[in-house]
């Protein structure tokens, strides 16, 4: 079955091409089929390959498929190749599996929208690019996929282009992530020039050979890669684009801005963990960024009224947890949380989408209210997702993955304890902000009309994701609960083992923190459902600590000012002079075109006489 690996990214690409070429010629049904089934078939193939991989692991725990040679110049040979190892296997299953469920949901969610086929063309292209990103065996293939998902993110955020605000949000996302991408590109060039290869496994091997731990080059390379990861995963200081990215349709937020693309940074760092192990400074920074982001985003989520923005800040915060895990060397825990987060955050976004599609796209939680009885399907899905996000002990997947991260942080010495404390406080905030949304939106008095019913294409993905959000954690249980290690056994060949806390105390404290948050939310938001007063503190966190304001003053305005002032500088005058010369000459030469035939004849005569004269004199 391994030979079919190339089909996994190719099928969504094919679906995208069909949808693009058939634009305006296909029926809605055909477009839905092409959009969802291409990813569905890719998922079937991916799961079949995964079955084969798990039953009989290939030698070296990796299967490589070289498709063709891209270029071979100056001693640098780059092939387009796919590499399936446990790490990319997990990512591939998440992308195709969760991706298919979201596509299925979208076929119903997007019904009646303008540009139905265009939507699925972009979404399929995204899946293809994302698969290329995780399956590529060298950095250049990875970078191609990296830029491809960035492009699709831009296209889909601005999908409803008639509203200029959406286009603005799309451009913001594109430009902010591009800053990180540039750092990544410089990092890749550094690796290519210093280590002589772009093959990821080869480069990691060479790095361990030629760069001693803590050497400046290794640190520089790790920081540059971190820059790319920070931009793509919306971590400090490049996090400002993610809340605005919610301008896109909800399935896009679920697939791109929650389950897959924003976790690409986590994947990148896990993939290049050998480099980060050589650069302790960079690895500490990863953990610090994660802790800072998870707290900042958690506080910001508390001050939002828009249900999608709450989820956006929560995504940022959860990826902060993954970065924290990477920072303390709990690689497996980061991947575990990536997996469960993909389930419950996709579930949260889809159920939020299911709510808004029945409320005429109303996203303000204070205008919802009392939805629990009127939209039971959406309510139960959202509740299960929220429980998993808040890490409700024992019964949710999010509990086990968050425990794995916090346990890894606890075991990582004194600096790890600080990160652990931040993580525990974050768990408290998480329970508070998500159950604030649950209580305000689903309980209390009703404020809006609800219309319509859900089809199976909405109910099925919600059900499957609910089940996964509850049971997905059972693949990896801490020593206190049976000690199941399916995922870490799988990842053992590619990622170093995670340290685990020996005592049960941190586990208990962290569980209590989450419960405390949920309890406080119940006390505070059970009864009244009035929008919060606009205190300065609320405004500060509503604007996510004012990073947009800061960047606007610090970067955007100076650049715009410089562009305006620099429009007529010295360099510009050179081109102005060229234009002036051309125009002046034109005015002079234009006069010879008098339109009088005798003038032309005279010109001919004088010209021929002069030529003859010259010929005779010479």
């Amino acid at each position: 079955m391994h030979e079919l690996l190339w089909l996994v990214p190719t099928l969504p690409l094919l679906g995208s091409v069909i949808l693009m070429l058939g634009a305006g010629r296909l029926s809605i049904r055909a477009e839905a089929a092409a959009g969802a089934l291409s990813v569905g078939f890719a998922a079937v193939i991916a799961f079949t390959i995964a079955g084969g991989f798990l039953l009989s692991p290939p030698a070296g725990a990796a299967y490589e498929q070289t498709l063709w040679r891209w270029f071979d110049v100056g001693g640098l040979s780059v092939t387009i190749g796919l590499r399936l190892d446990p790490l990319s296997l997990v990512m591939m299953l998440v992308i195709t599996g969760v991706g298919f469920l979201i596509h299925l949901f979208a076929t119903e969610f997007m019904e009646g929208e303008e540009g139905y086929g265009r939507f699925f063309a972009y979404l399929n292209l995204f899946v293809a690019a994302m698969l290329l990103l995780v399956l590529g065996d060298n950095f250049l293939t990875l970078y191609t996929g990296w830029e491809g998902v960035g492009l699709c993110s831009y296209l889909l955020i601005g999908f409803w282009w008639r509203d200029p605000a959406n286009g603005l949000a799309a451009r913001k996302a594109f430009i902010v992530t591009r800053i990180g991408d540039t750092a990544l590109l410089i990092g890749l060039l550094l690796i290519a020039s210093r280590l002589g290869t772009l093959n990821i496994a080869g480069a990691m091997h060479n790095a361990a050979q030629s760069w001693p731990a803590g050497s400046p080059l290794a640190t520089l390379a790790a920081f540059l890669l971190l820059g790319g990861a920070v931009g793509k995963s919306a971590q400090l200081p490049l996090q400002t684009w993610l809340p605005d990215a919610m301008a896109g349709p909800t399935p896009v937020s679920a697939l791109i801005h929650a389950a897959t693309m924003v976790t690409a940074g986590v994947y990148l760092i896990a993939r290049t963990h050998a480099l980060f192990l050589l650069a302790p400074a960079a690895q500490y920074t990863v953990g610090g960024i994660g802790a800072a982001t998870l707290l900042l985003a958690g506080f910001s989520a508390l001050a939002q009224n828009d249900i999608k923005r709450i989820l956006a800040y929560s995504t940022m915060s959860q990826i902060g947890y993954m970065f924290l895990a990477l920072g303390v060397g709990a690689w497996g825990a980061a991947m575990f949380h990536l997996l469960t987060h993909a389930f419950f955050k996709a579930l949260l976004f889809l159920s939020a989408g299911a709510v808004t599609m029945r409320l005429h796209h109303e996203q303000d939680i204070f205008k919802m209210g009392g939805l629990a009885r009127r939209l039971p399907v959406a309510f139960w899905s959202f509740l299960i997702g929220s429980a998993a996000l808040a890490a409700l002990p024992l019964v949710t997947a999010g509990f086990y993955s968050k425990e794995a991260i916090l346990s890894g942080a606890w075991a990582d010495g004194s600096s790890g304890r600080v990160l652990w404390a931040a993580g525990v406080f974050g768990a408290f905030i998480t329970g508070l902000y998500i159950f604030r949304a649950v209580f305000i939106a689903f309980f209390g008095e009703a404020h809006t009309e609800v219309s319509g019913r859900y089809g199976w294409r909405v109910i099925l993905p919600l059900t499957v994701l609910s089940v996964l959000s509850v049971l997905g954690g059972l693949i990896e249980l801490p020593p206190a609960f049976g000690h199941v290690t399916l995922l870490s056994n799988l990842l053992a060949p590619v990622l170093p083992a995670t340290k685990e806390a020996a005592s049960v105390v941190p586990l208990l404290v962290a569980s209590l923190a989450g419960l405390l948050g949920i309890g406080l939310a119940a006390v505070l938001y059970w009864r009244p459902a009035r929008p919060p007063a606009e205190t300065p503190l609320w405004r500060f966190w509503h604007a996510a600590a004012g990073f947009d304001w800061l960047y606007g003053r610090l970067l955007v305005r100076p650049v715009l000012w410089a562009a305006r002032e620099g429009a007529d500088d010295v360099i510009d005058s050179v081109y102005d002079a060229i234009a002036w010369t051309a125009r002046t000459l034109h005015e002079q030469v234009r006069r010879t075109q008098s339109g009088r035939v005798r003038f032309y004849t005279a010109g001919l005569a004088i010209g021929s006489i002069s030529l003859i004269a010259i010929a005779m004199i010479r």
Partner: protein
């Protein structure tokens, strides 16, 4: 009968050509310009014939017949154009039509 010396024949051709050219440049009436053009063509024809006689070759006369044919076709087109321009501008003044001025 003695042949006309080459230099005298070519001198005649040159004089005719200059007269024709002067006519084209000086006259403003399109009909006269066309006639001056004919004079120039015939000057070229004279040059061919004189040169053919000098080297006792038939080529010169053949070329002259070719020139005549061209002149005939050119005149038919030219007259048609003049007719059209007269209808359009109700004058034969060449300087009156400068619609292609740049």
């Amino acid at each position: 009968m003695t042949a006309i010396p080459l230099d005298q024949g070519l001198g005649l051709a040159a004089a005719l050509f200059a007269l024709g050219l002067a006519g084209v440049l000086v006259r403003r009436n399109l009909l006269f310009m066309l006639m001056s053009l004919e004079v120039m063509l015939n000057a070229a024809g004279v040059a061919f014939v004189v040169a053919g006689a000098r080297w006792a070759a038939a080529d010169g006369q053949i070329m002259f017949i070719l020139v005549l044919t061209f002149a005939a076709s050119e005149v038919s087109v030219g007259l048609a154009l003049i007719l059209l321009m007269h209808r359009r501008n109700s004058t034969l003044d060449a300087d009156a039509s400068y619609h292609l001025r740049g």
